[in-house]
Amino acid sequence: MQVNEYKPLIVAFCCNWCSYAGADLAGNNRLNYPAEVKIIRVPCSCRVNPMFILRAFQRGADGVIICGCHPGDCHYTSGNYYTRRRMAALFSMLDYLGIEKERTRVEWVSAAEGAKFAATMNDFVEKVVALGENKRLEDLRCKK
């Protein structure tokens, strides 16, 4: 692991029906993933408003990941299809504004994929750690 003591703050929006259960399974199976990942449960991945993502960055997040059911498996039939389009557009815009693209990600994690959840988080945290602190969407008022 990294030598320095830098601990990123990762916000993971997890859909209630698949990914949150996937995270649960990862825990039950004693699979390791970094403690810096803070999970926020949402009813569906399409509940995630772009504002949530920006506010997470404002409040000190270094990376934001959205996890939902696999396309086609949405509990509400089509929610994650919308998520897919919205986040594609938003992430492309953030990249356009010069915000590092590795800080945002969407992954589809089902309730059975505890291992995928842990692996995804490990990978995501590693990438964010490599980038270091979020400086481009920070709000200095929120820094201690």
Binding site: R85, A88, M93, G98, I99, T104, R141
Partner: protein
């Protein structure tokens, strides 16, 4: 130089008022200077003859005014729409923002509108008068005796340089000739930015957006921003912030605003026109338009009433958000 004249429009308006088709006219009213033009409601022939103007500075898009004015005005409103305005007009109809029955839309051709700031970079401050002389503007300043001749093509507003359509997509009646949709170069600037490194892009936007004074002019002029209460005005939203503090608030505001109008923005360019700090806000909207064209197929908001915008639609085969960047890399 516009191909139709003020007199033609007044004549049309007077006729429509006289036969009772409309009860008032939404048009451009002359101001203190030859270039300053204020949108206004005209109720009769005298008012029209006294104050109505039509010249190279009539850039204001009237579509948004219809939302409020159709509710207030009894009878129909006559509105003059340039080709780009008709897209906003359709988009507002798609969103059921005003009653089509209360509007009589007259399409007018547009040869592109001039930007007075560009005029001033050529002739300097202190414009005493502007005469519209064929293809040229004859600008007399307080400081030179002879007028400066400026070709209108040299001072076109950015949105008109990159005009996307001279075709009207909605009207009850058309004055003059119908134009065509144009292959514009409007995405060139966006591509230029995309080709930069993230650091360069960040520096570019940091410089632009940090100038924002949060006057909300972009939002209040935008025909796609017609929420009854904006989330940024609502104290209960948790994001209501009136000021650009710490370089975050203004980024948040502009990203969210651009996202909220993504798929609904017709690229009319009002946001950039009204920005007192000349922030190229259209580059944010065009990025969304370009992306969605590439990701989900060509789509022009407002081209037809009732069309479904890309962000409220989906297919099962859409690309994954992660692939967005791969595409970018391939392009670069």
């Amino acid at each position: 130089m516009q191909k139709i004249t003020r007199e033609q429009l007044i004549e049309k308006a007077v006729a429509l008022l006289a036969d009772g088709t409309v009860s008032c006219v939404l048009g451009w009213s002359k101001g203190e200077f030859d270039y300053d033009v204020t949108p206004a409601i005209f109720n009769n022939e005298e008012e029209l003859k006294a104050n109505f103007v039509f010249n190279d500075f009539c850039g204001v898009n009237f579509s948004k005014y219809l939302v409020a004015k159709t509710q207030k005005c009894e009878g129909k409103i006559l509105v003059f729409l340039k080709p780009c305005d008709t897209y906003s007009f359709n988009q507002l109809l798609t969103e059921h923002r005003f009653d089509r029955e209360k509007v009589y839309a007259v399409g007018i051709p547009c040869e592109g509108m001039a930007d007075v700031a560009k005029v001033k970079t050529i002739c300097g401050d202190g414009i005493a008068s502007i005469n519209f002389d064929g293809e040229n503007l004859a600008v007399t300043t307080l400081y030179e005796d002879a007028p400066v001749m400026i070709s209108t093509n040299d001072v076109l507003a950015e949105r008109c340089v990159n005009c996307k359509s001279k075709k009207h997509v909605a009207y009850d009646e058309l004055i003059g000739d119908e134009g065509e949709v144009i292959e514009s170069n409007r995405f060139d600037e966006v591509e230029k930015l995309e080709a930069m490194t993230p650091d360069e892009r960040f520096a570019f936007w940091q410089n632009e957006l940090s100038r924002c004074i949060r006057c909300n002019a972009c939002r209040d002029a935008c025909p796609a921003c017609t929420c009854e209460k904006c989330v940024f005005d609502n104290p209960n939203s948790g994001v209501e912030n009136k000021s650009p503090a710490n370089s975050f608030e203004e980024k948040m505001f502009h990203i969210i605003r651009a996202f909220h109008v993504a798929g609904r923005c017709t690229d009319c360019g009002e946001c950039s026109r009204v920005c007192p700090q000349n922030i190229p806000l259209h580059l944010l909207n065009r990025k969304f338009i370009k992306d969605m064209n590439e990701f989900y197929g060509e789509y022009q908001a407002g081209a037809e009433v009732g069309s479904r915008a890309p962000l409220v639609d989906y297919t099962t085969e859409d690309l994954e958000p992660g692939e967005v960047f791969n595409r970018g890399d391939m392009n670069a």
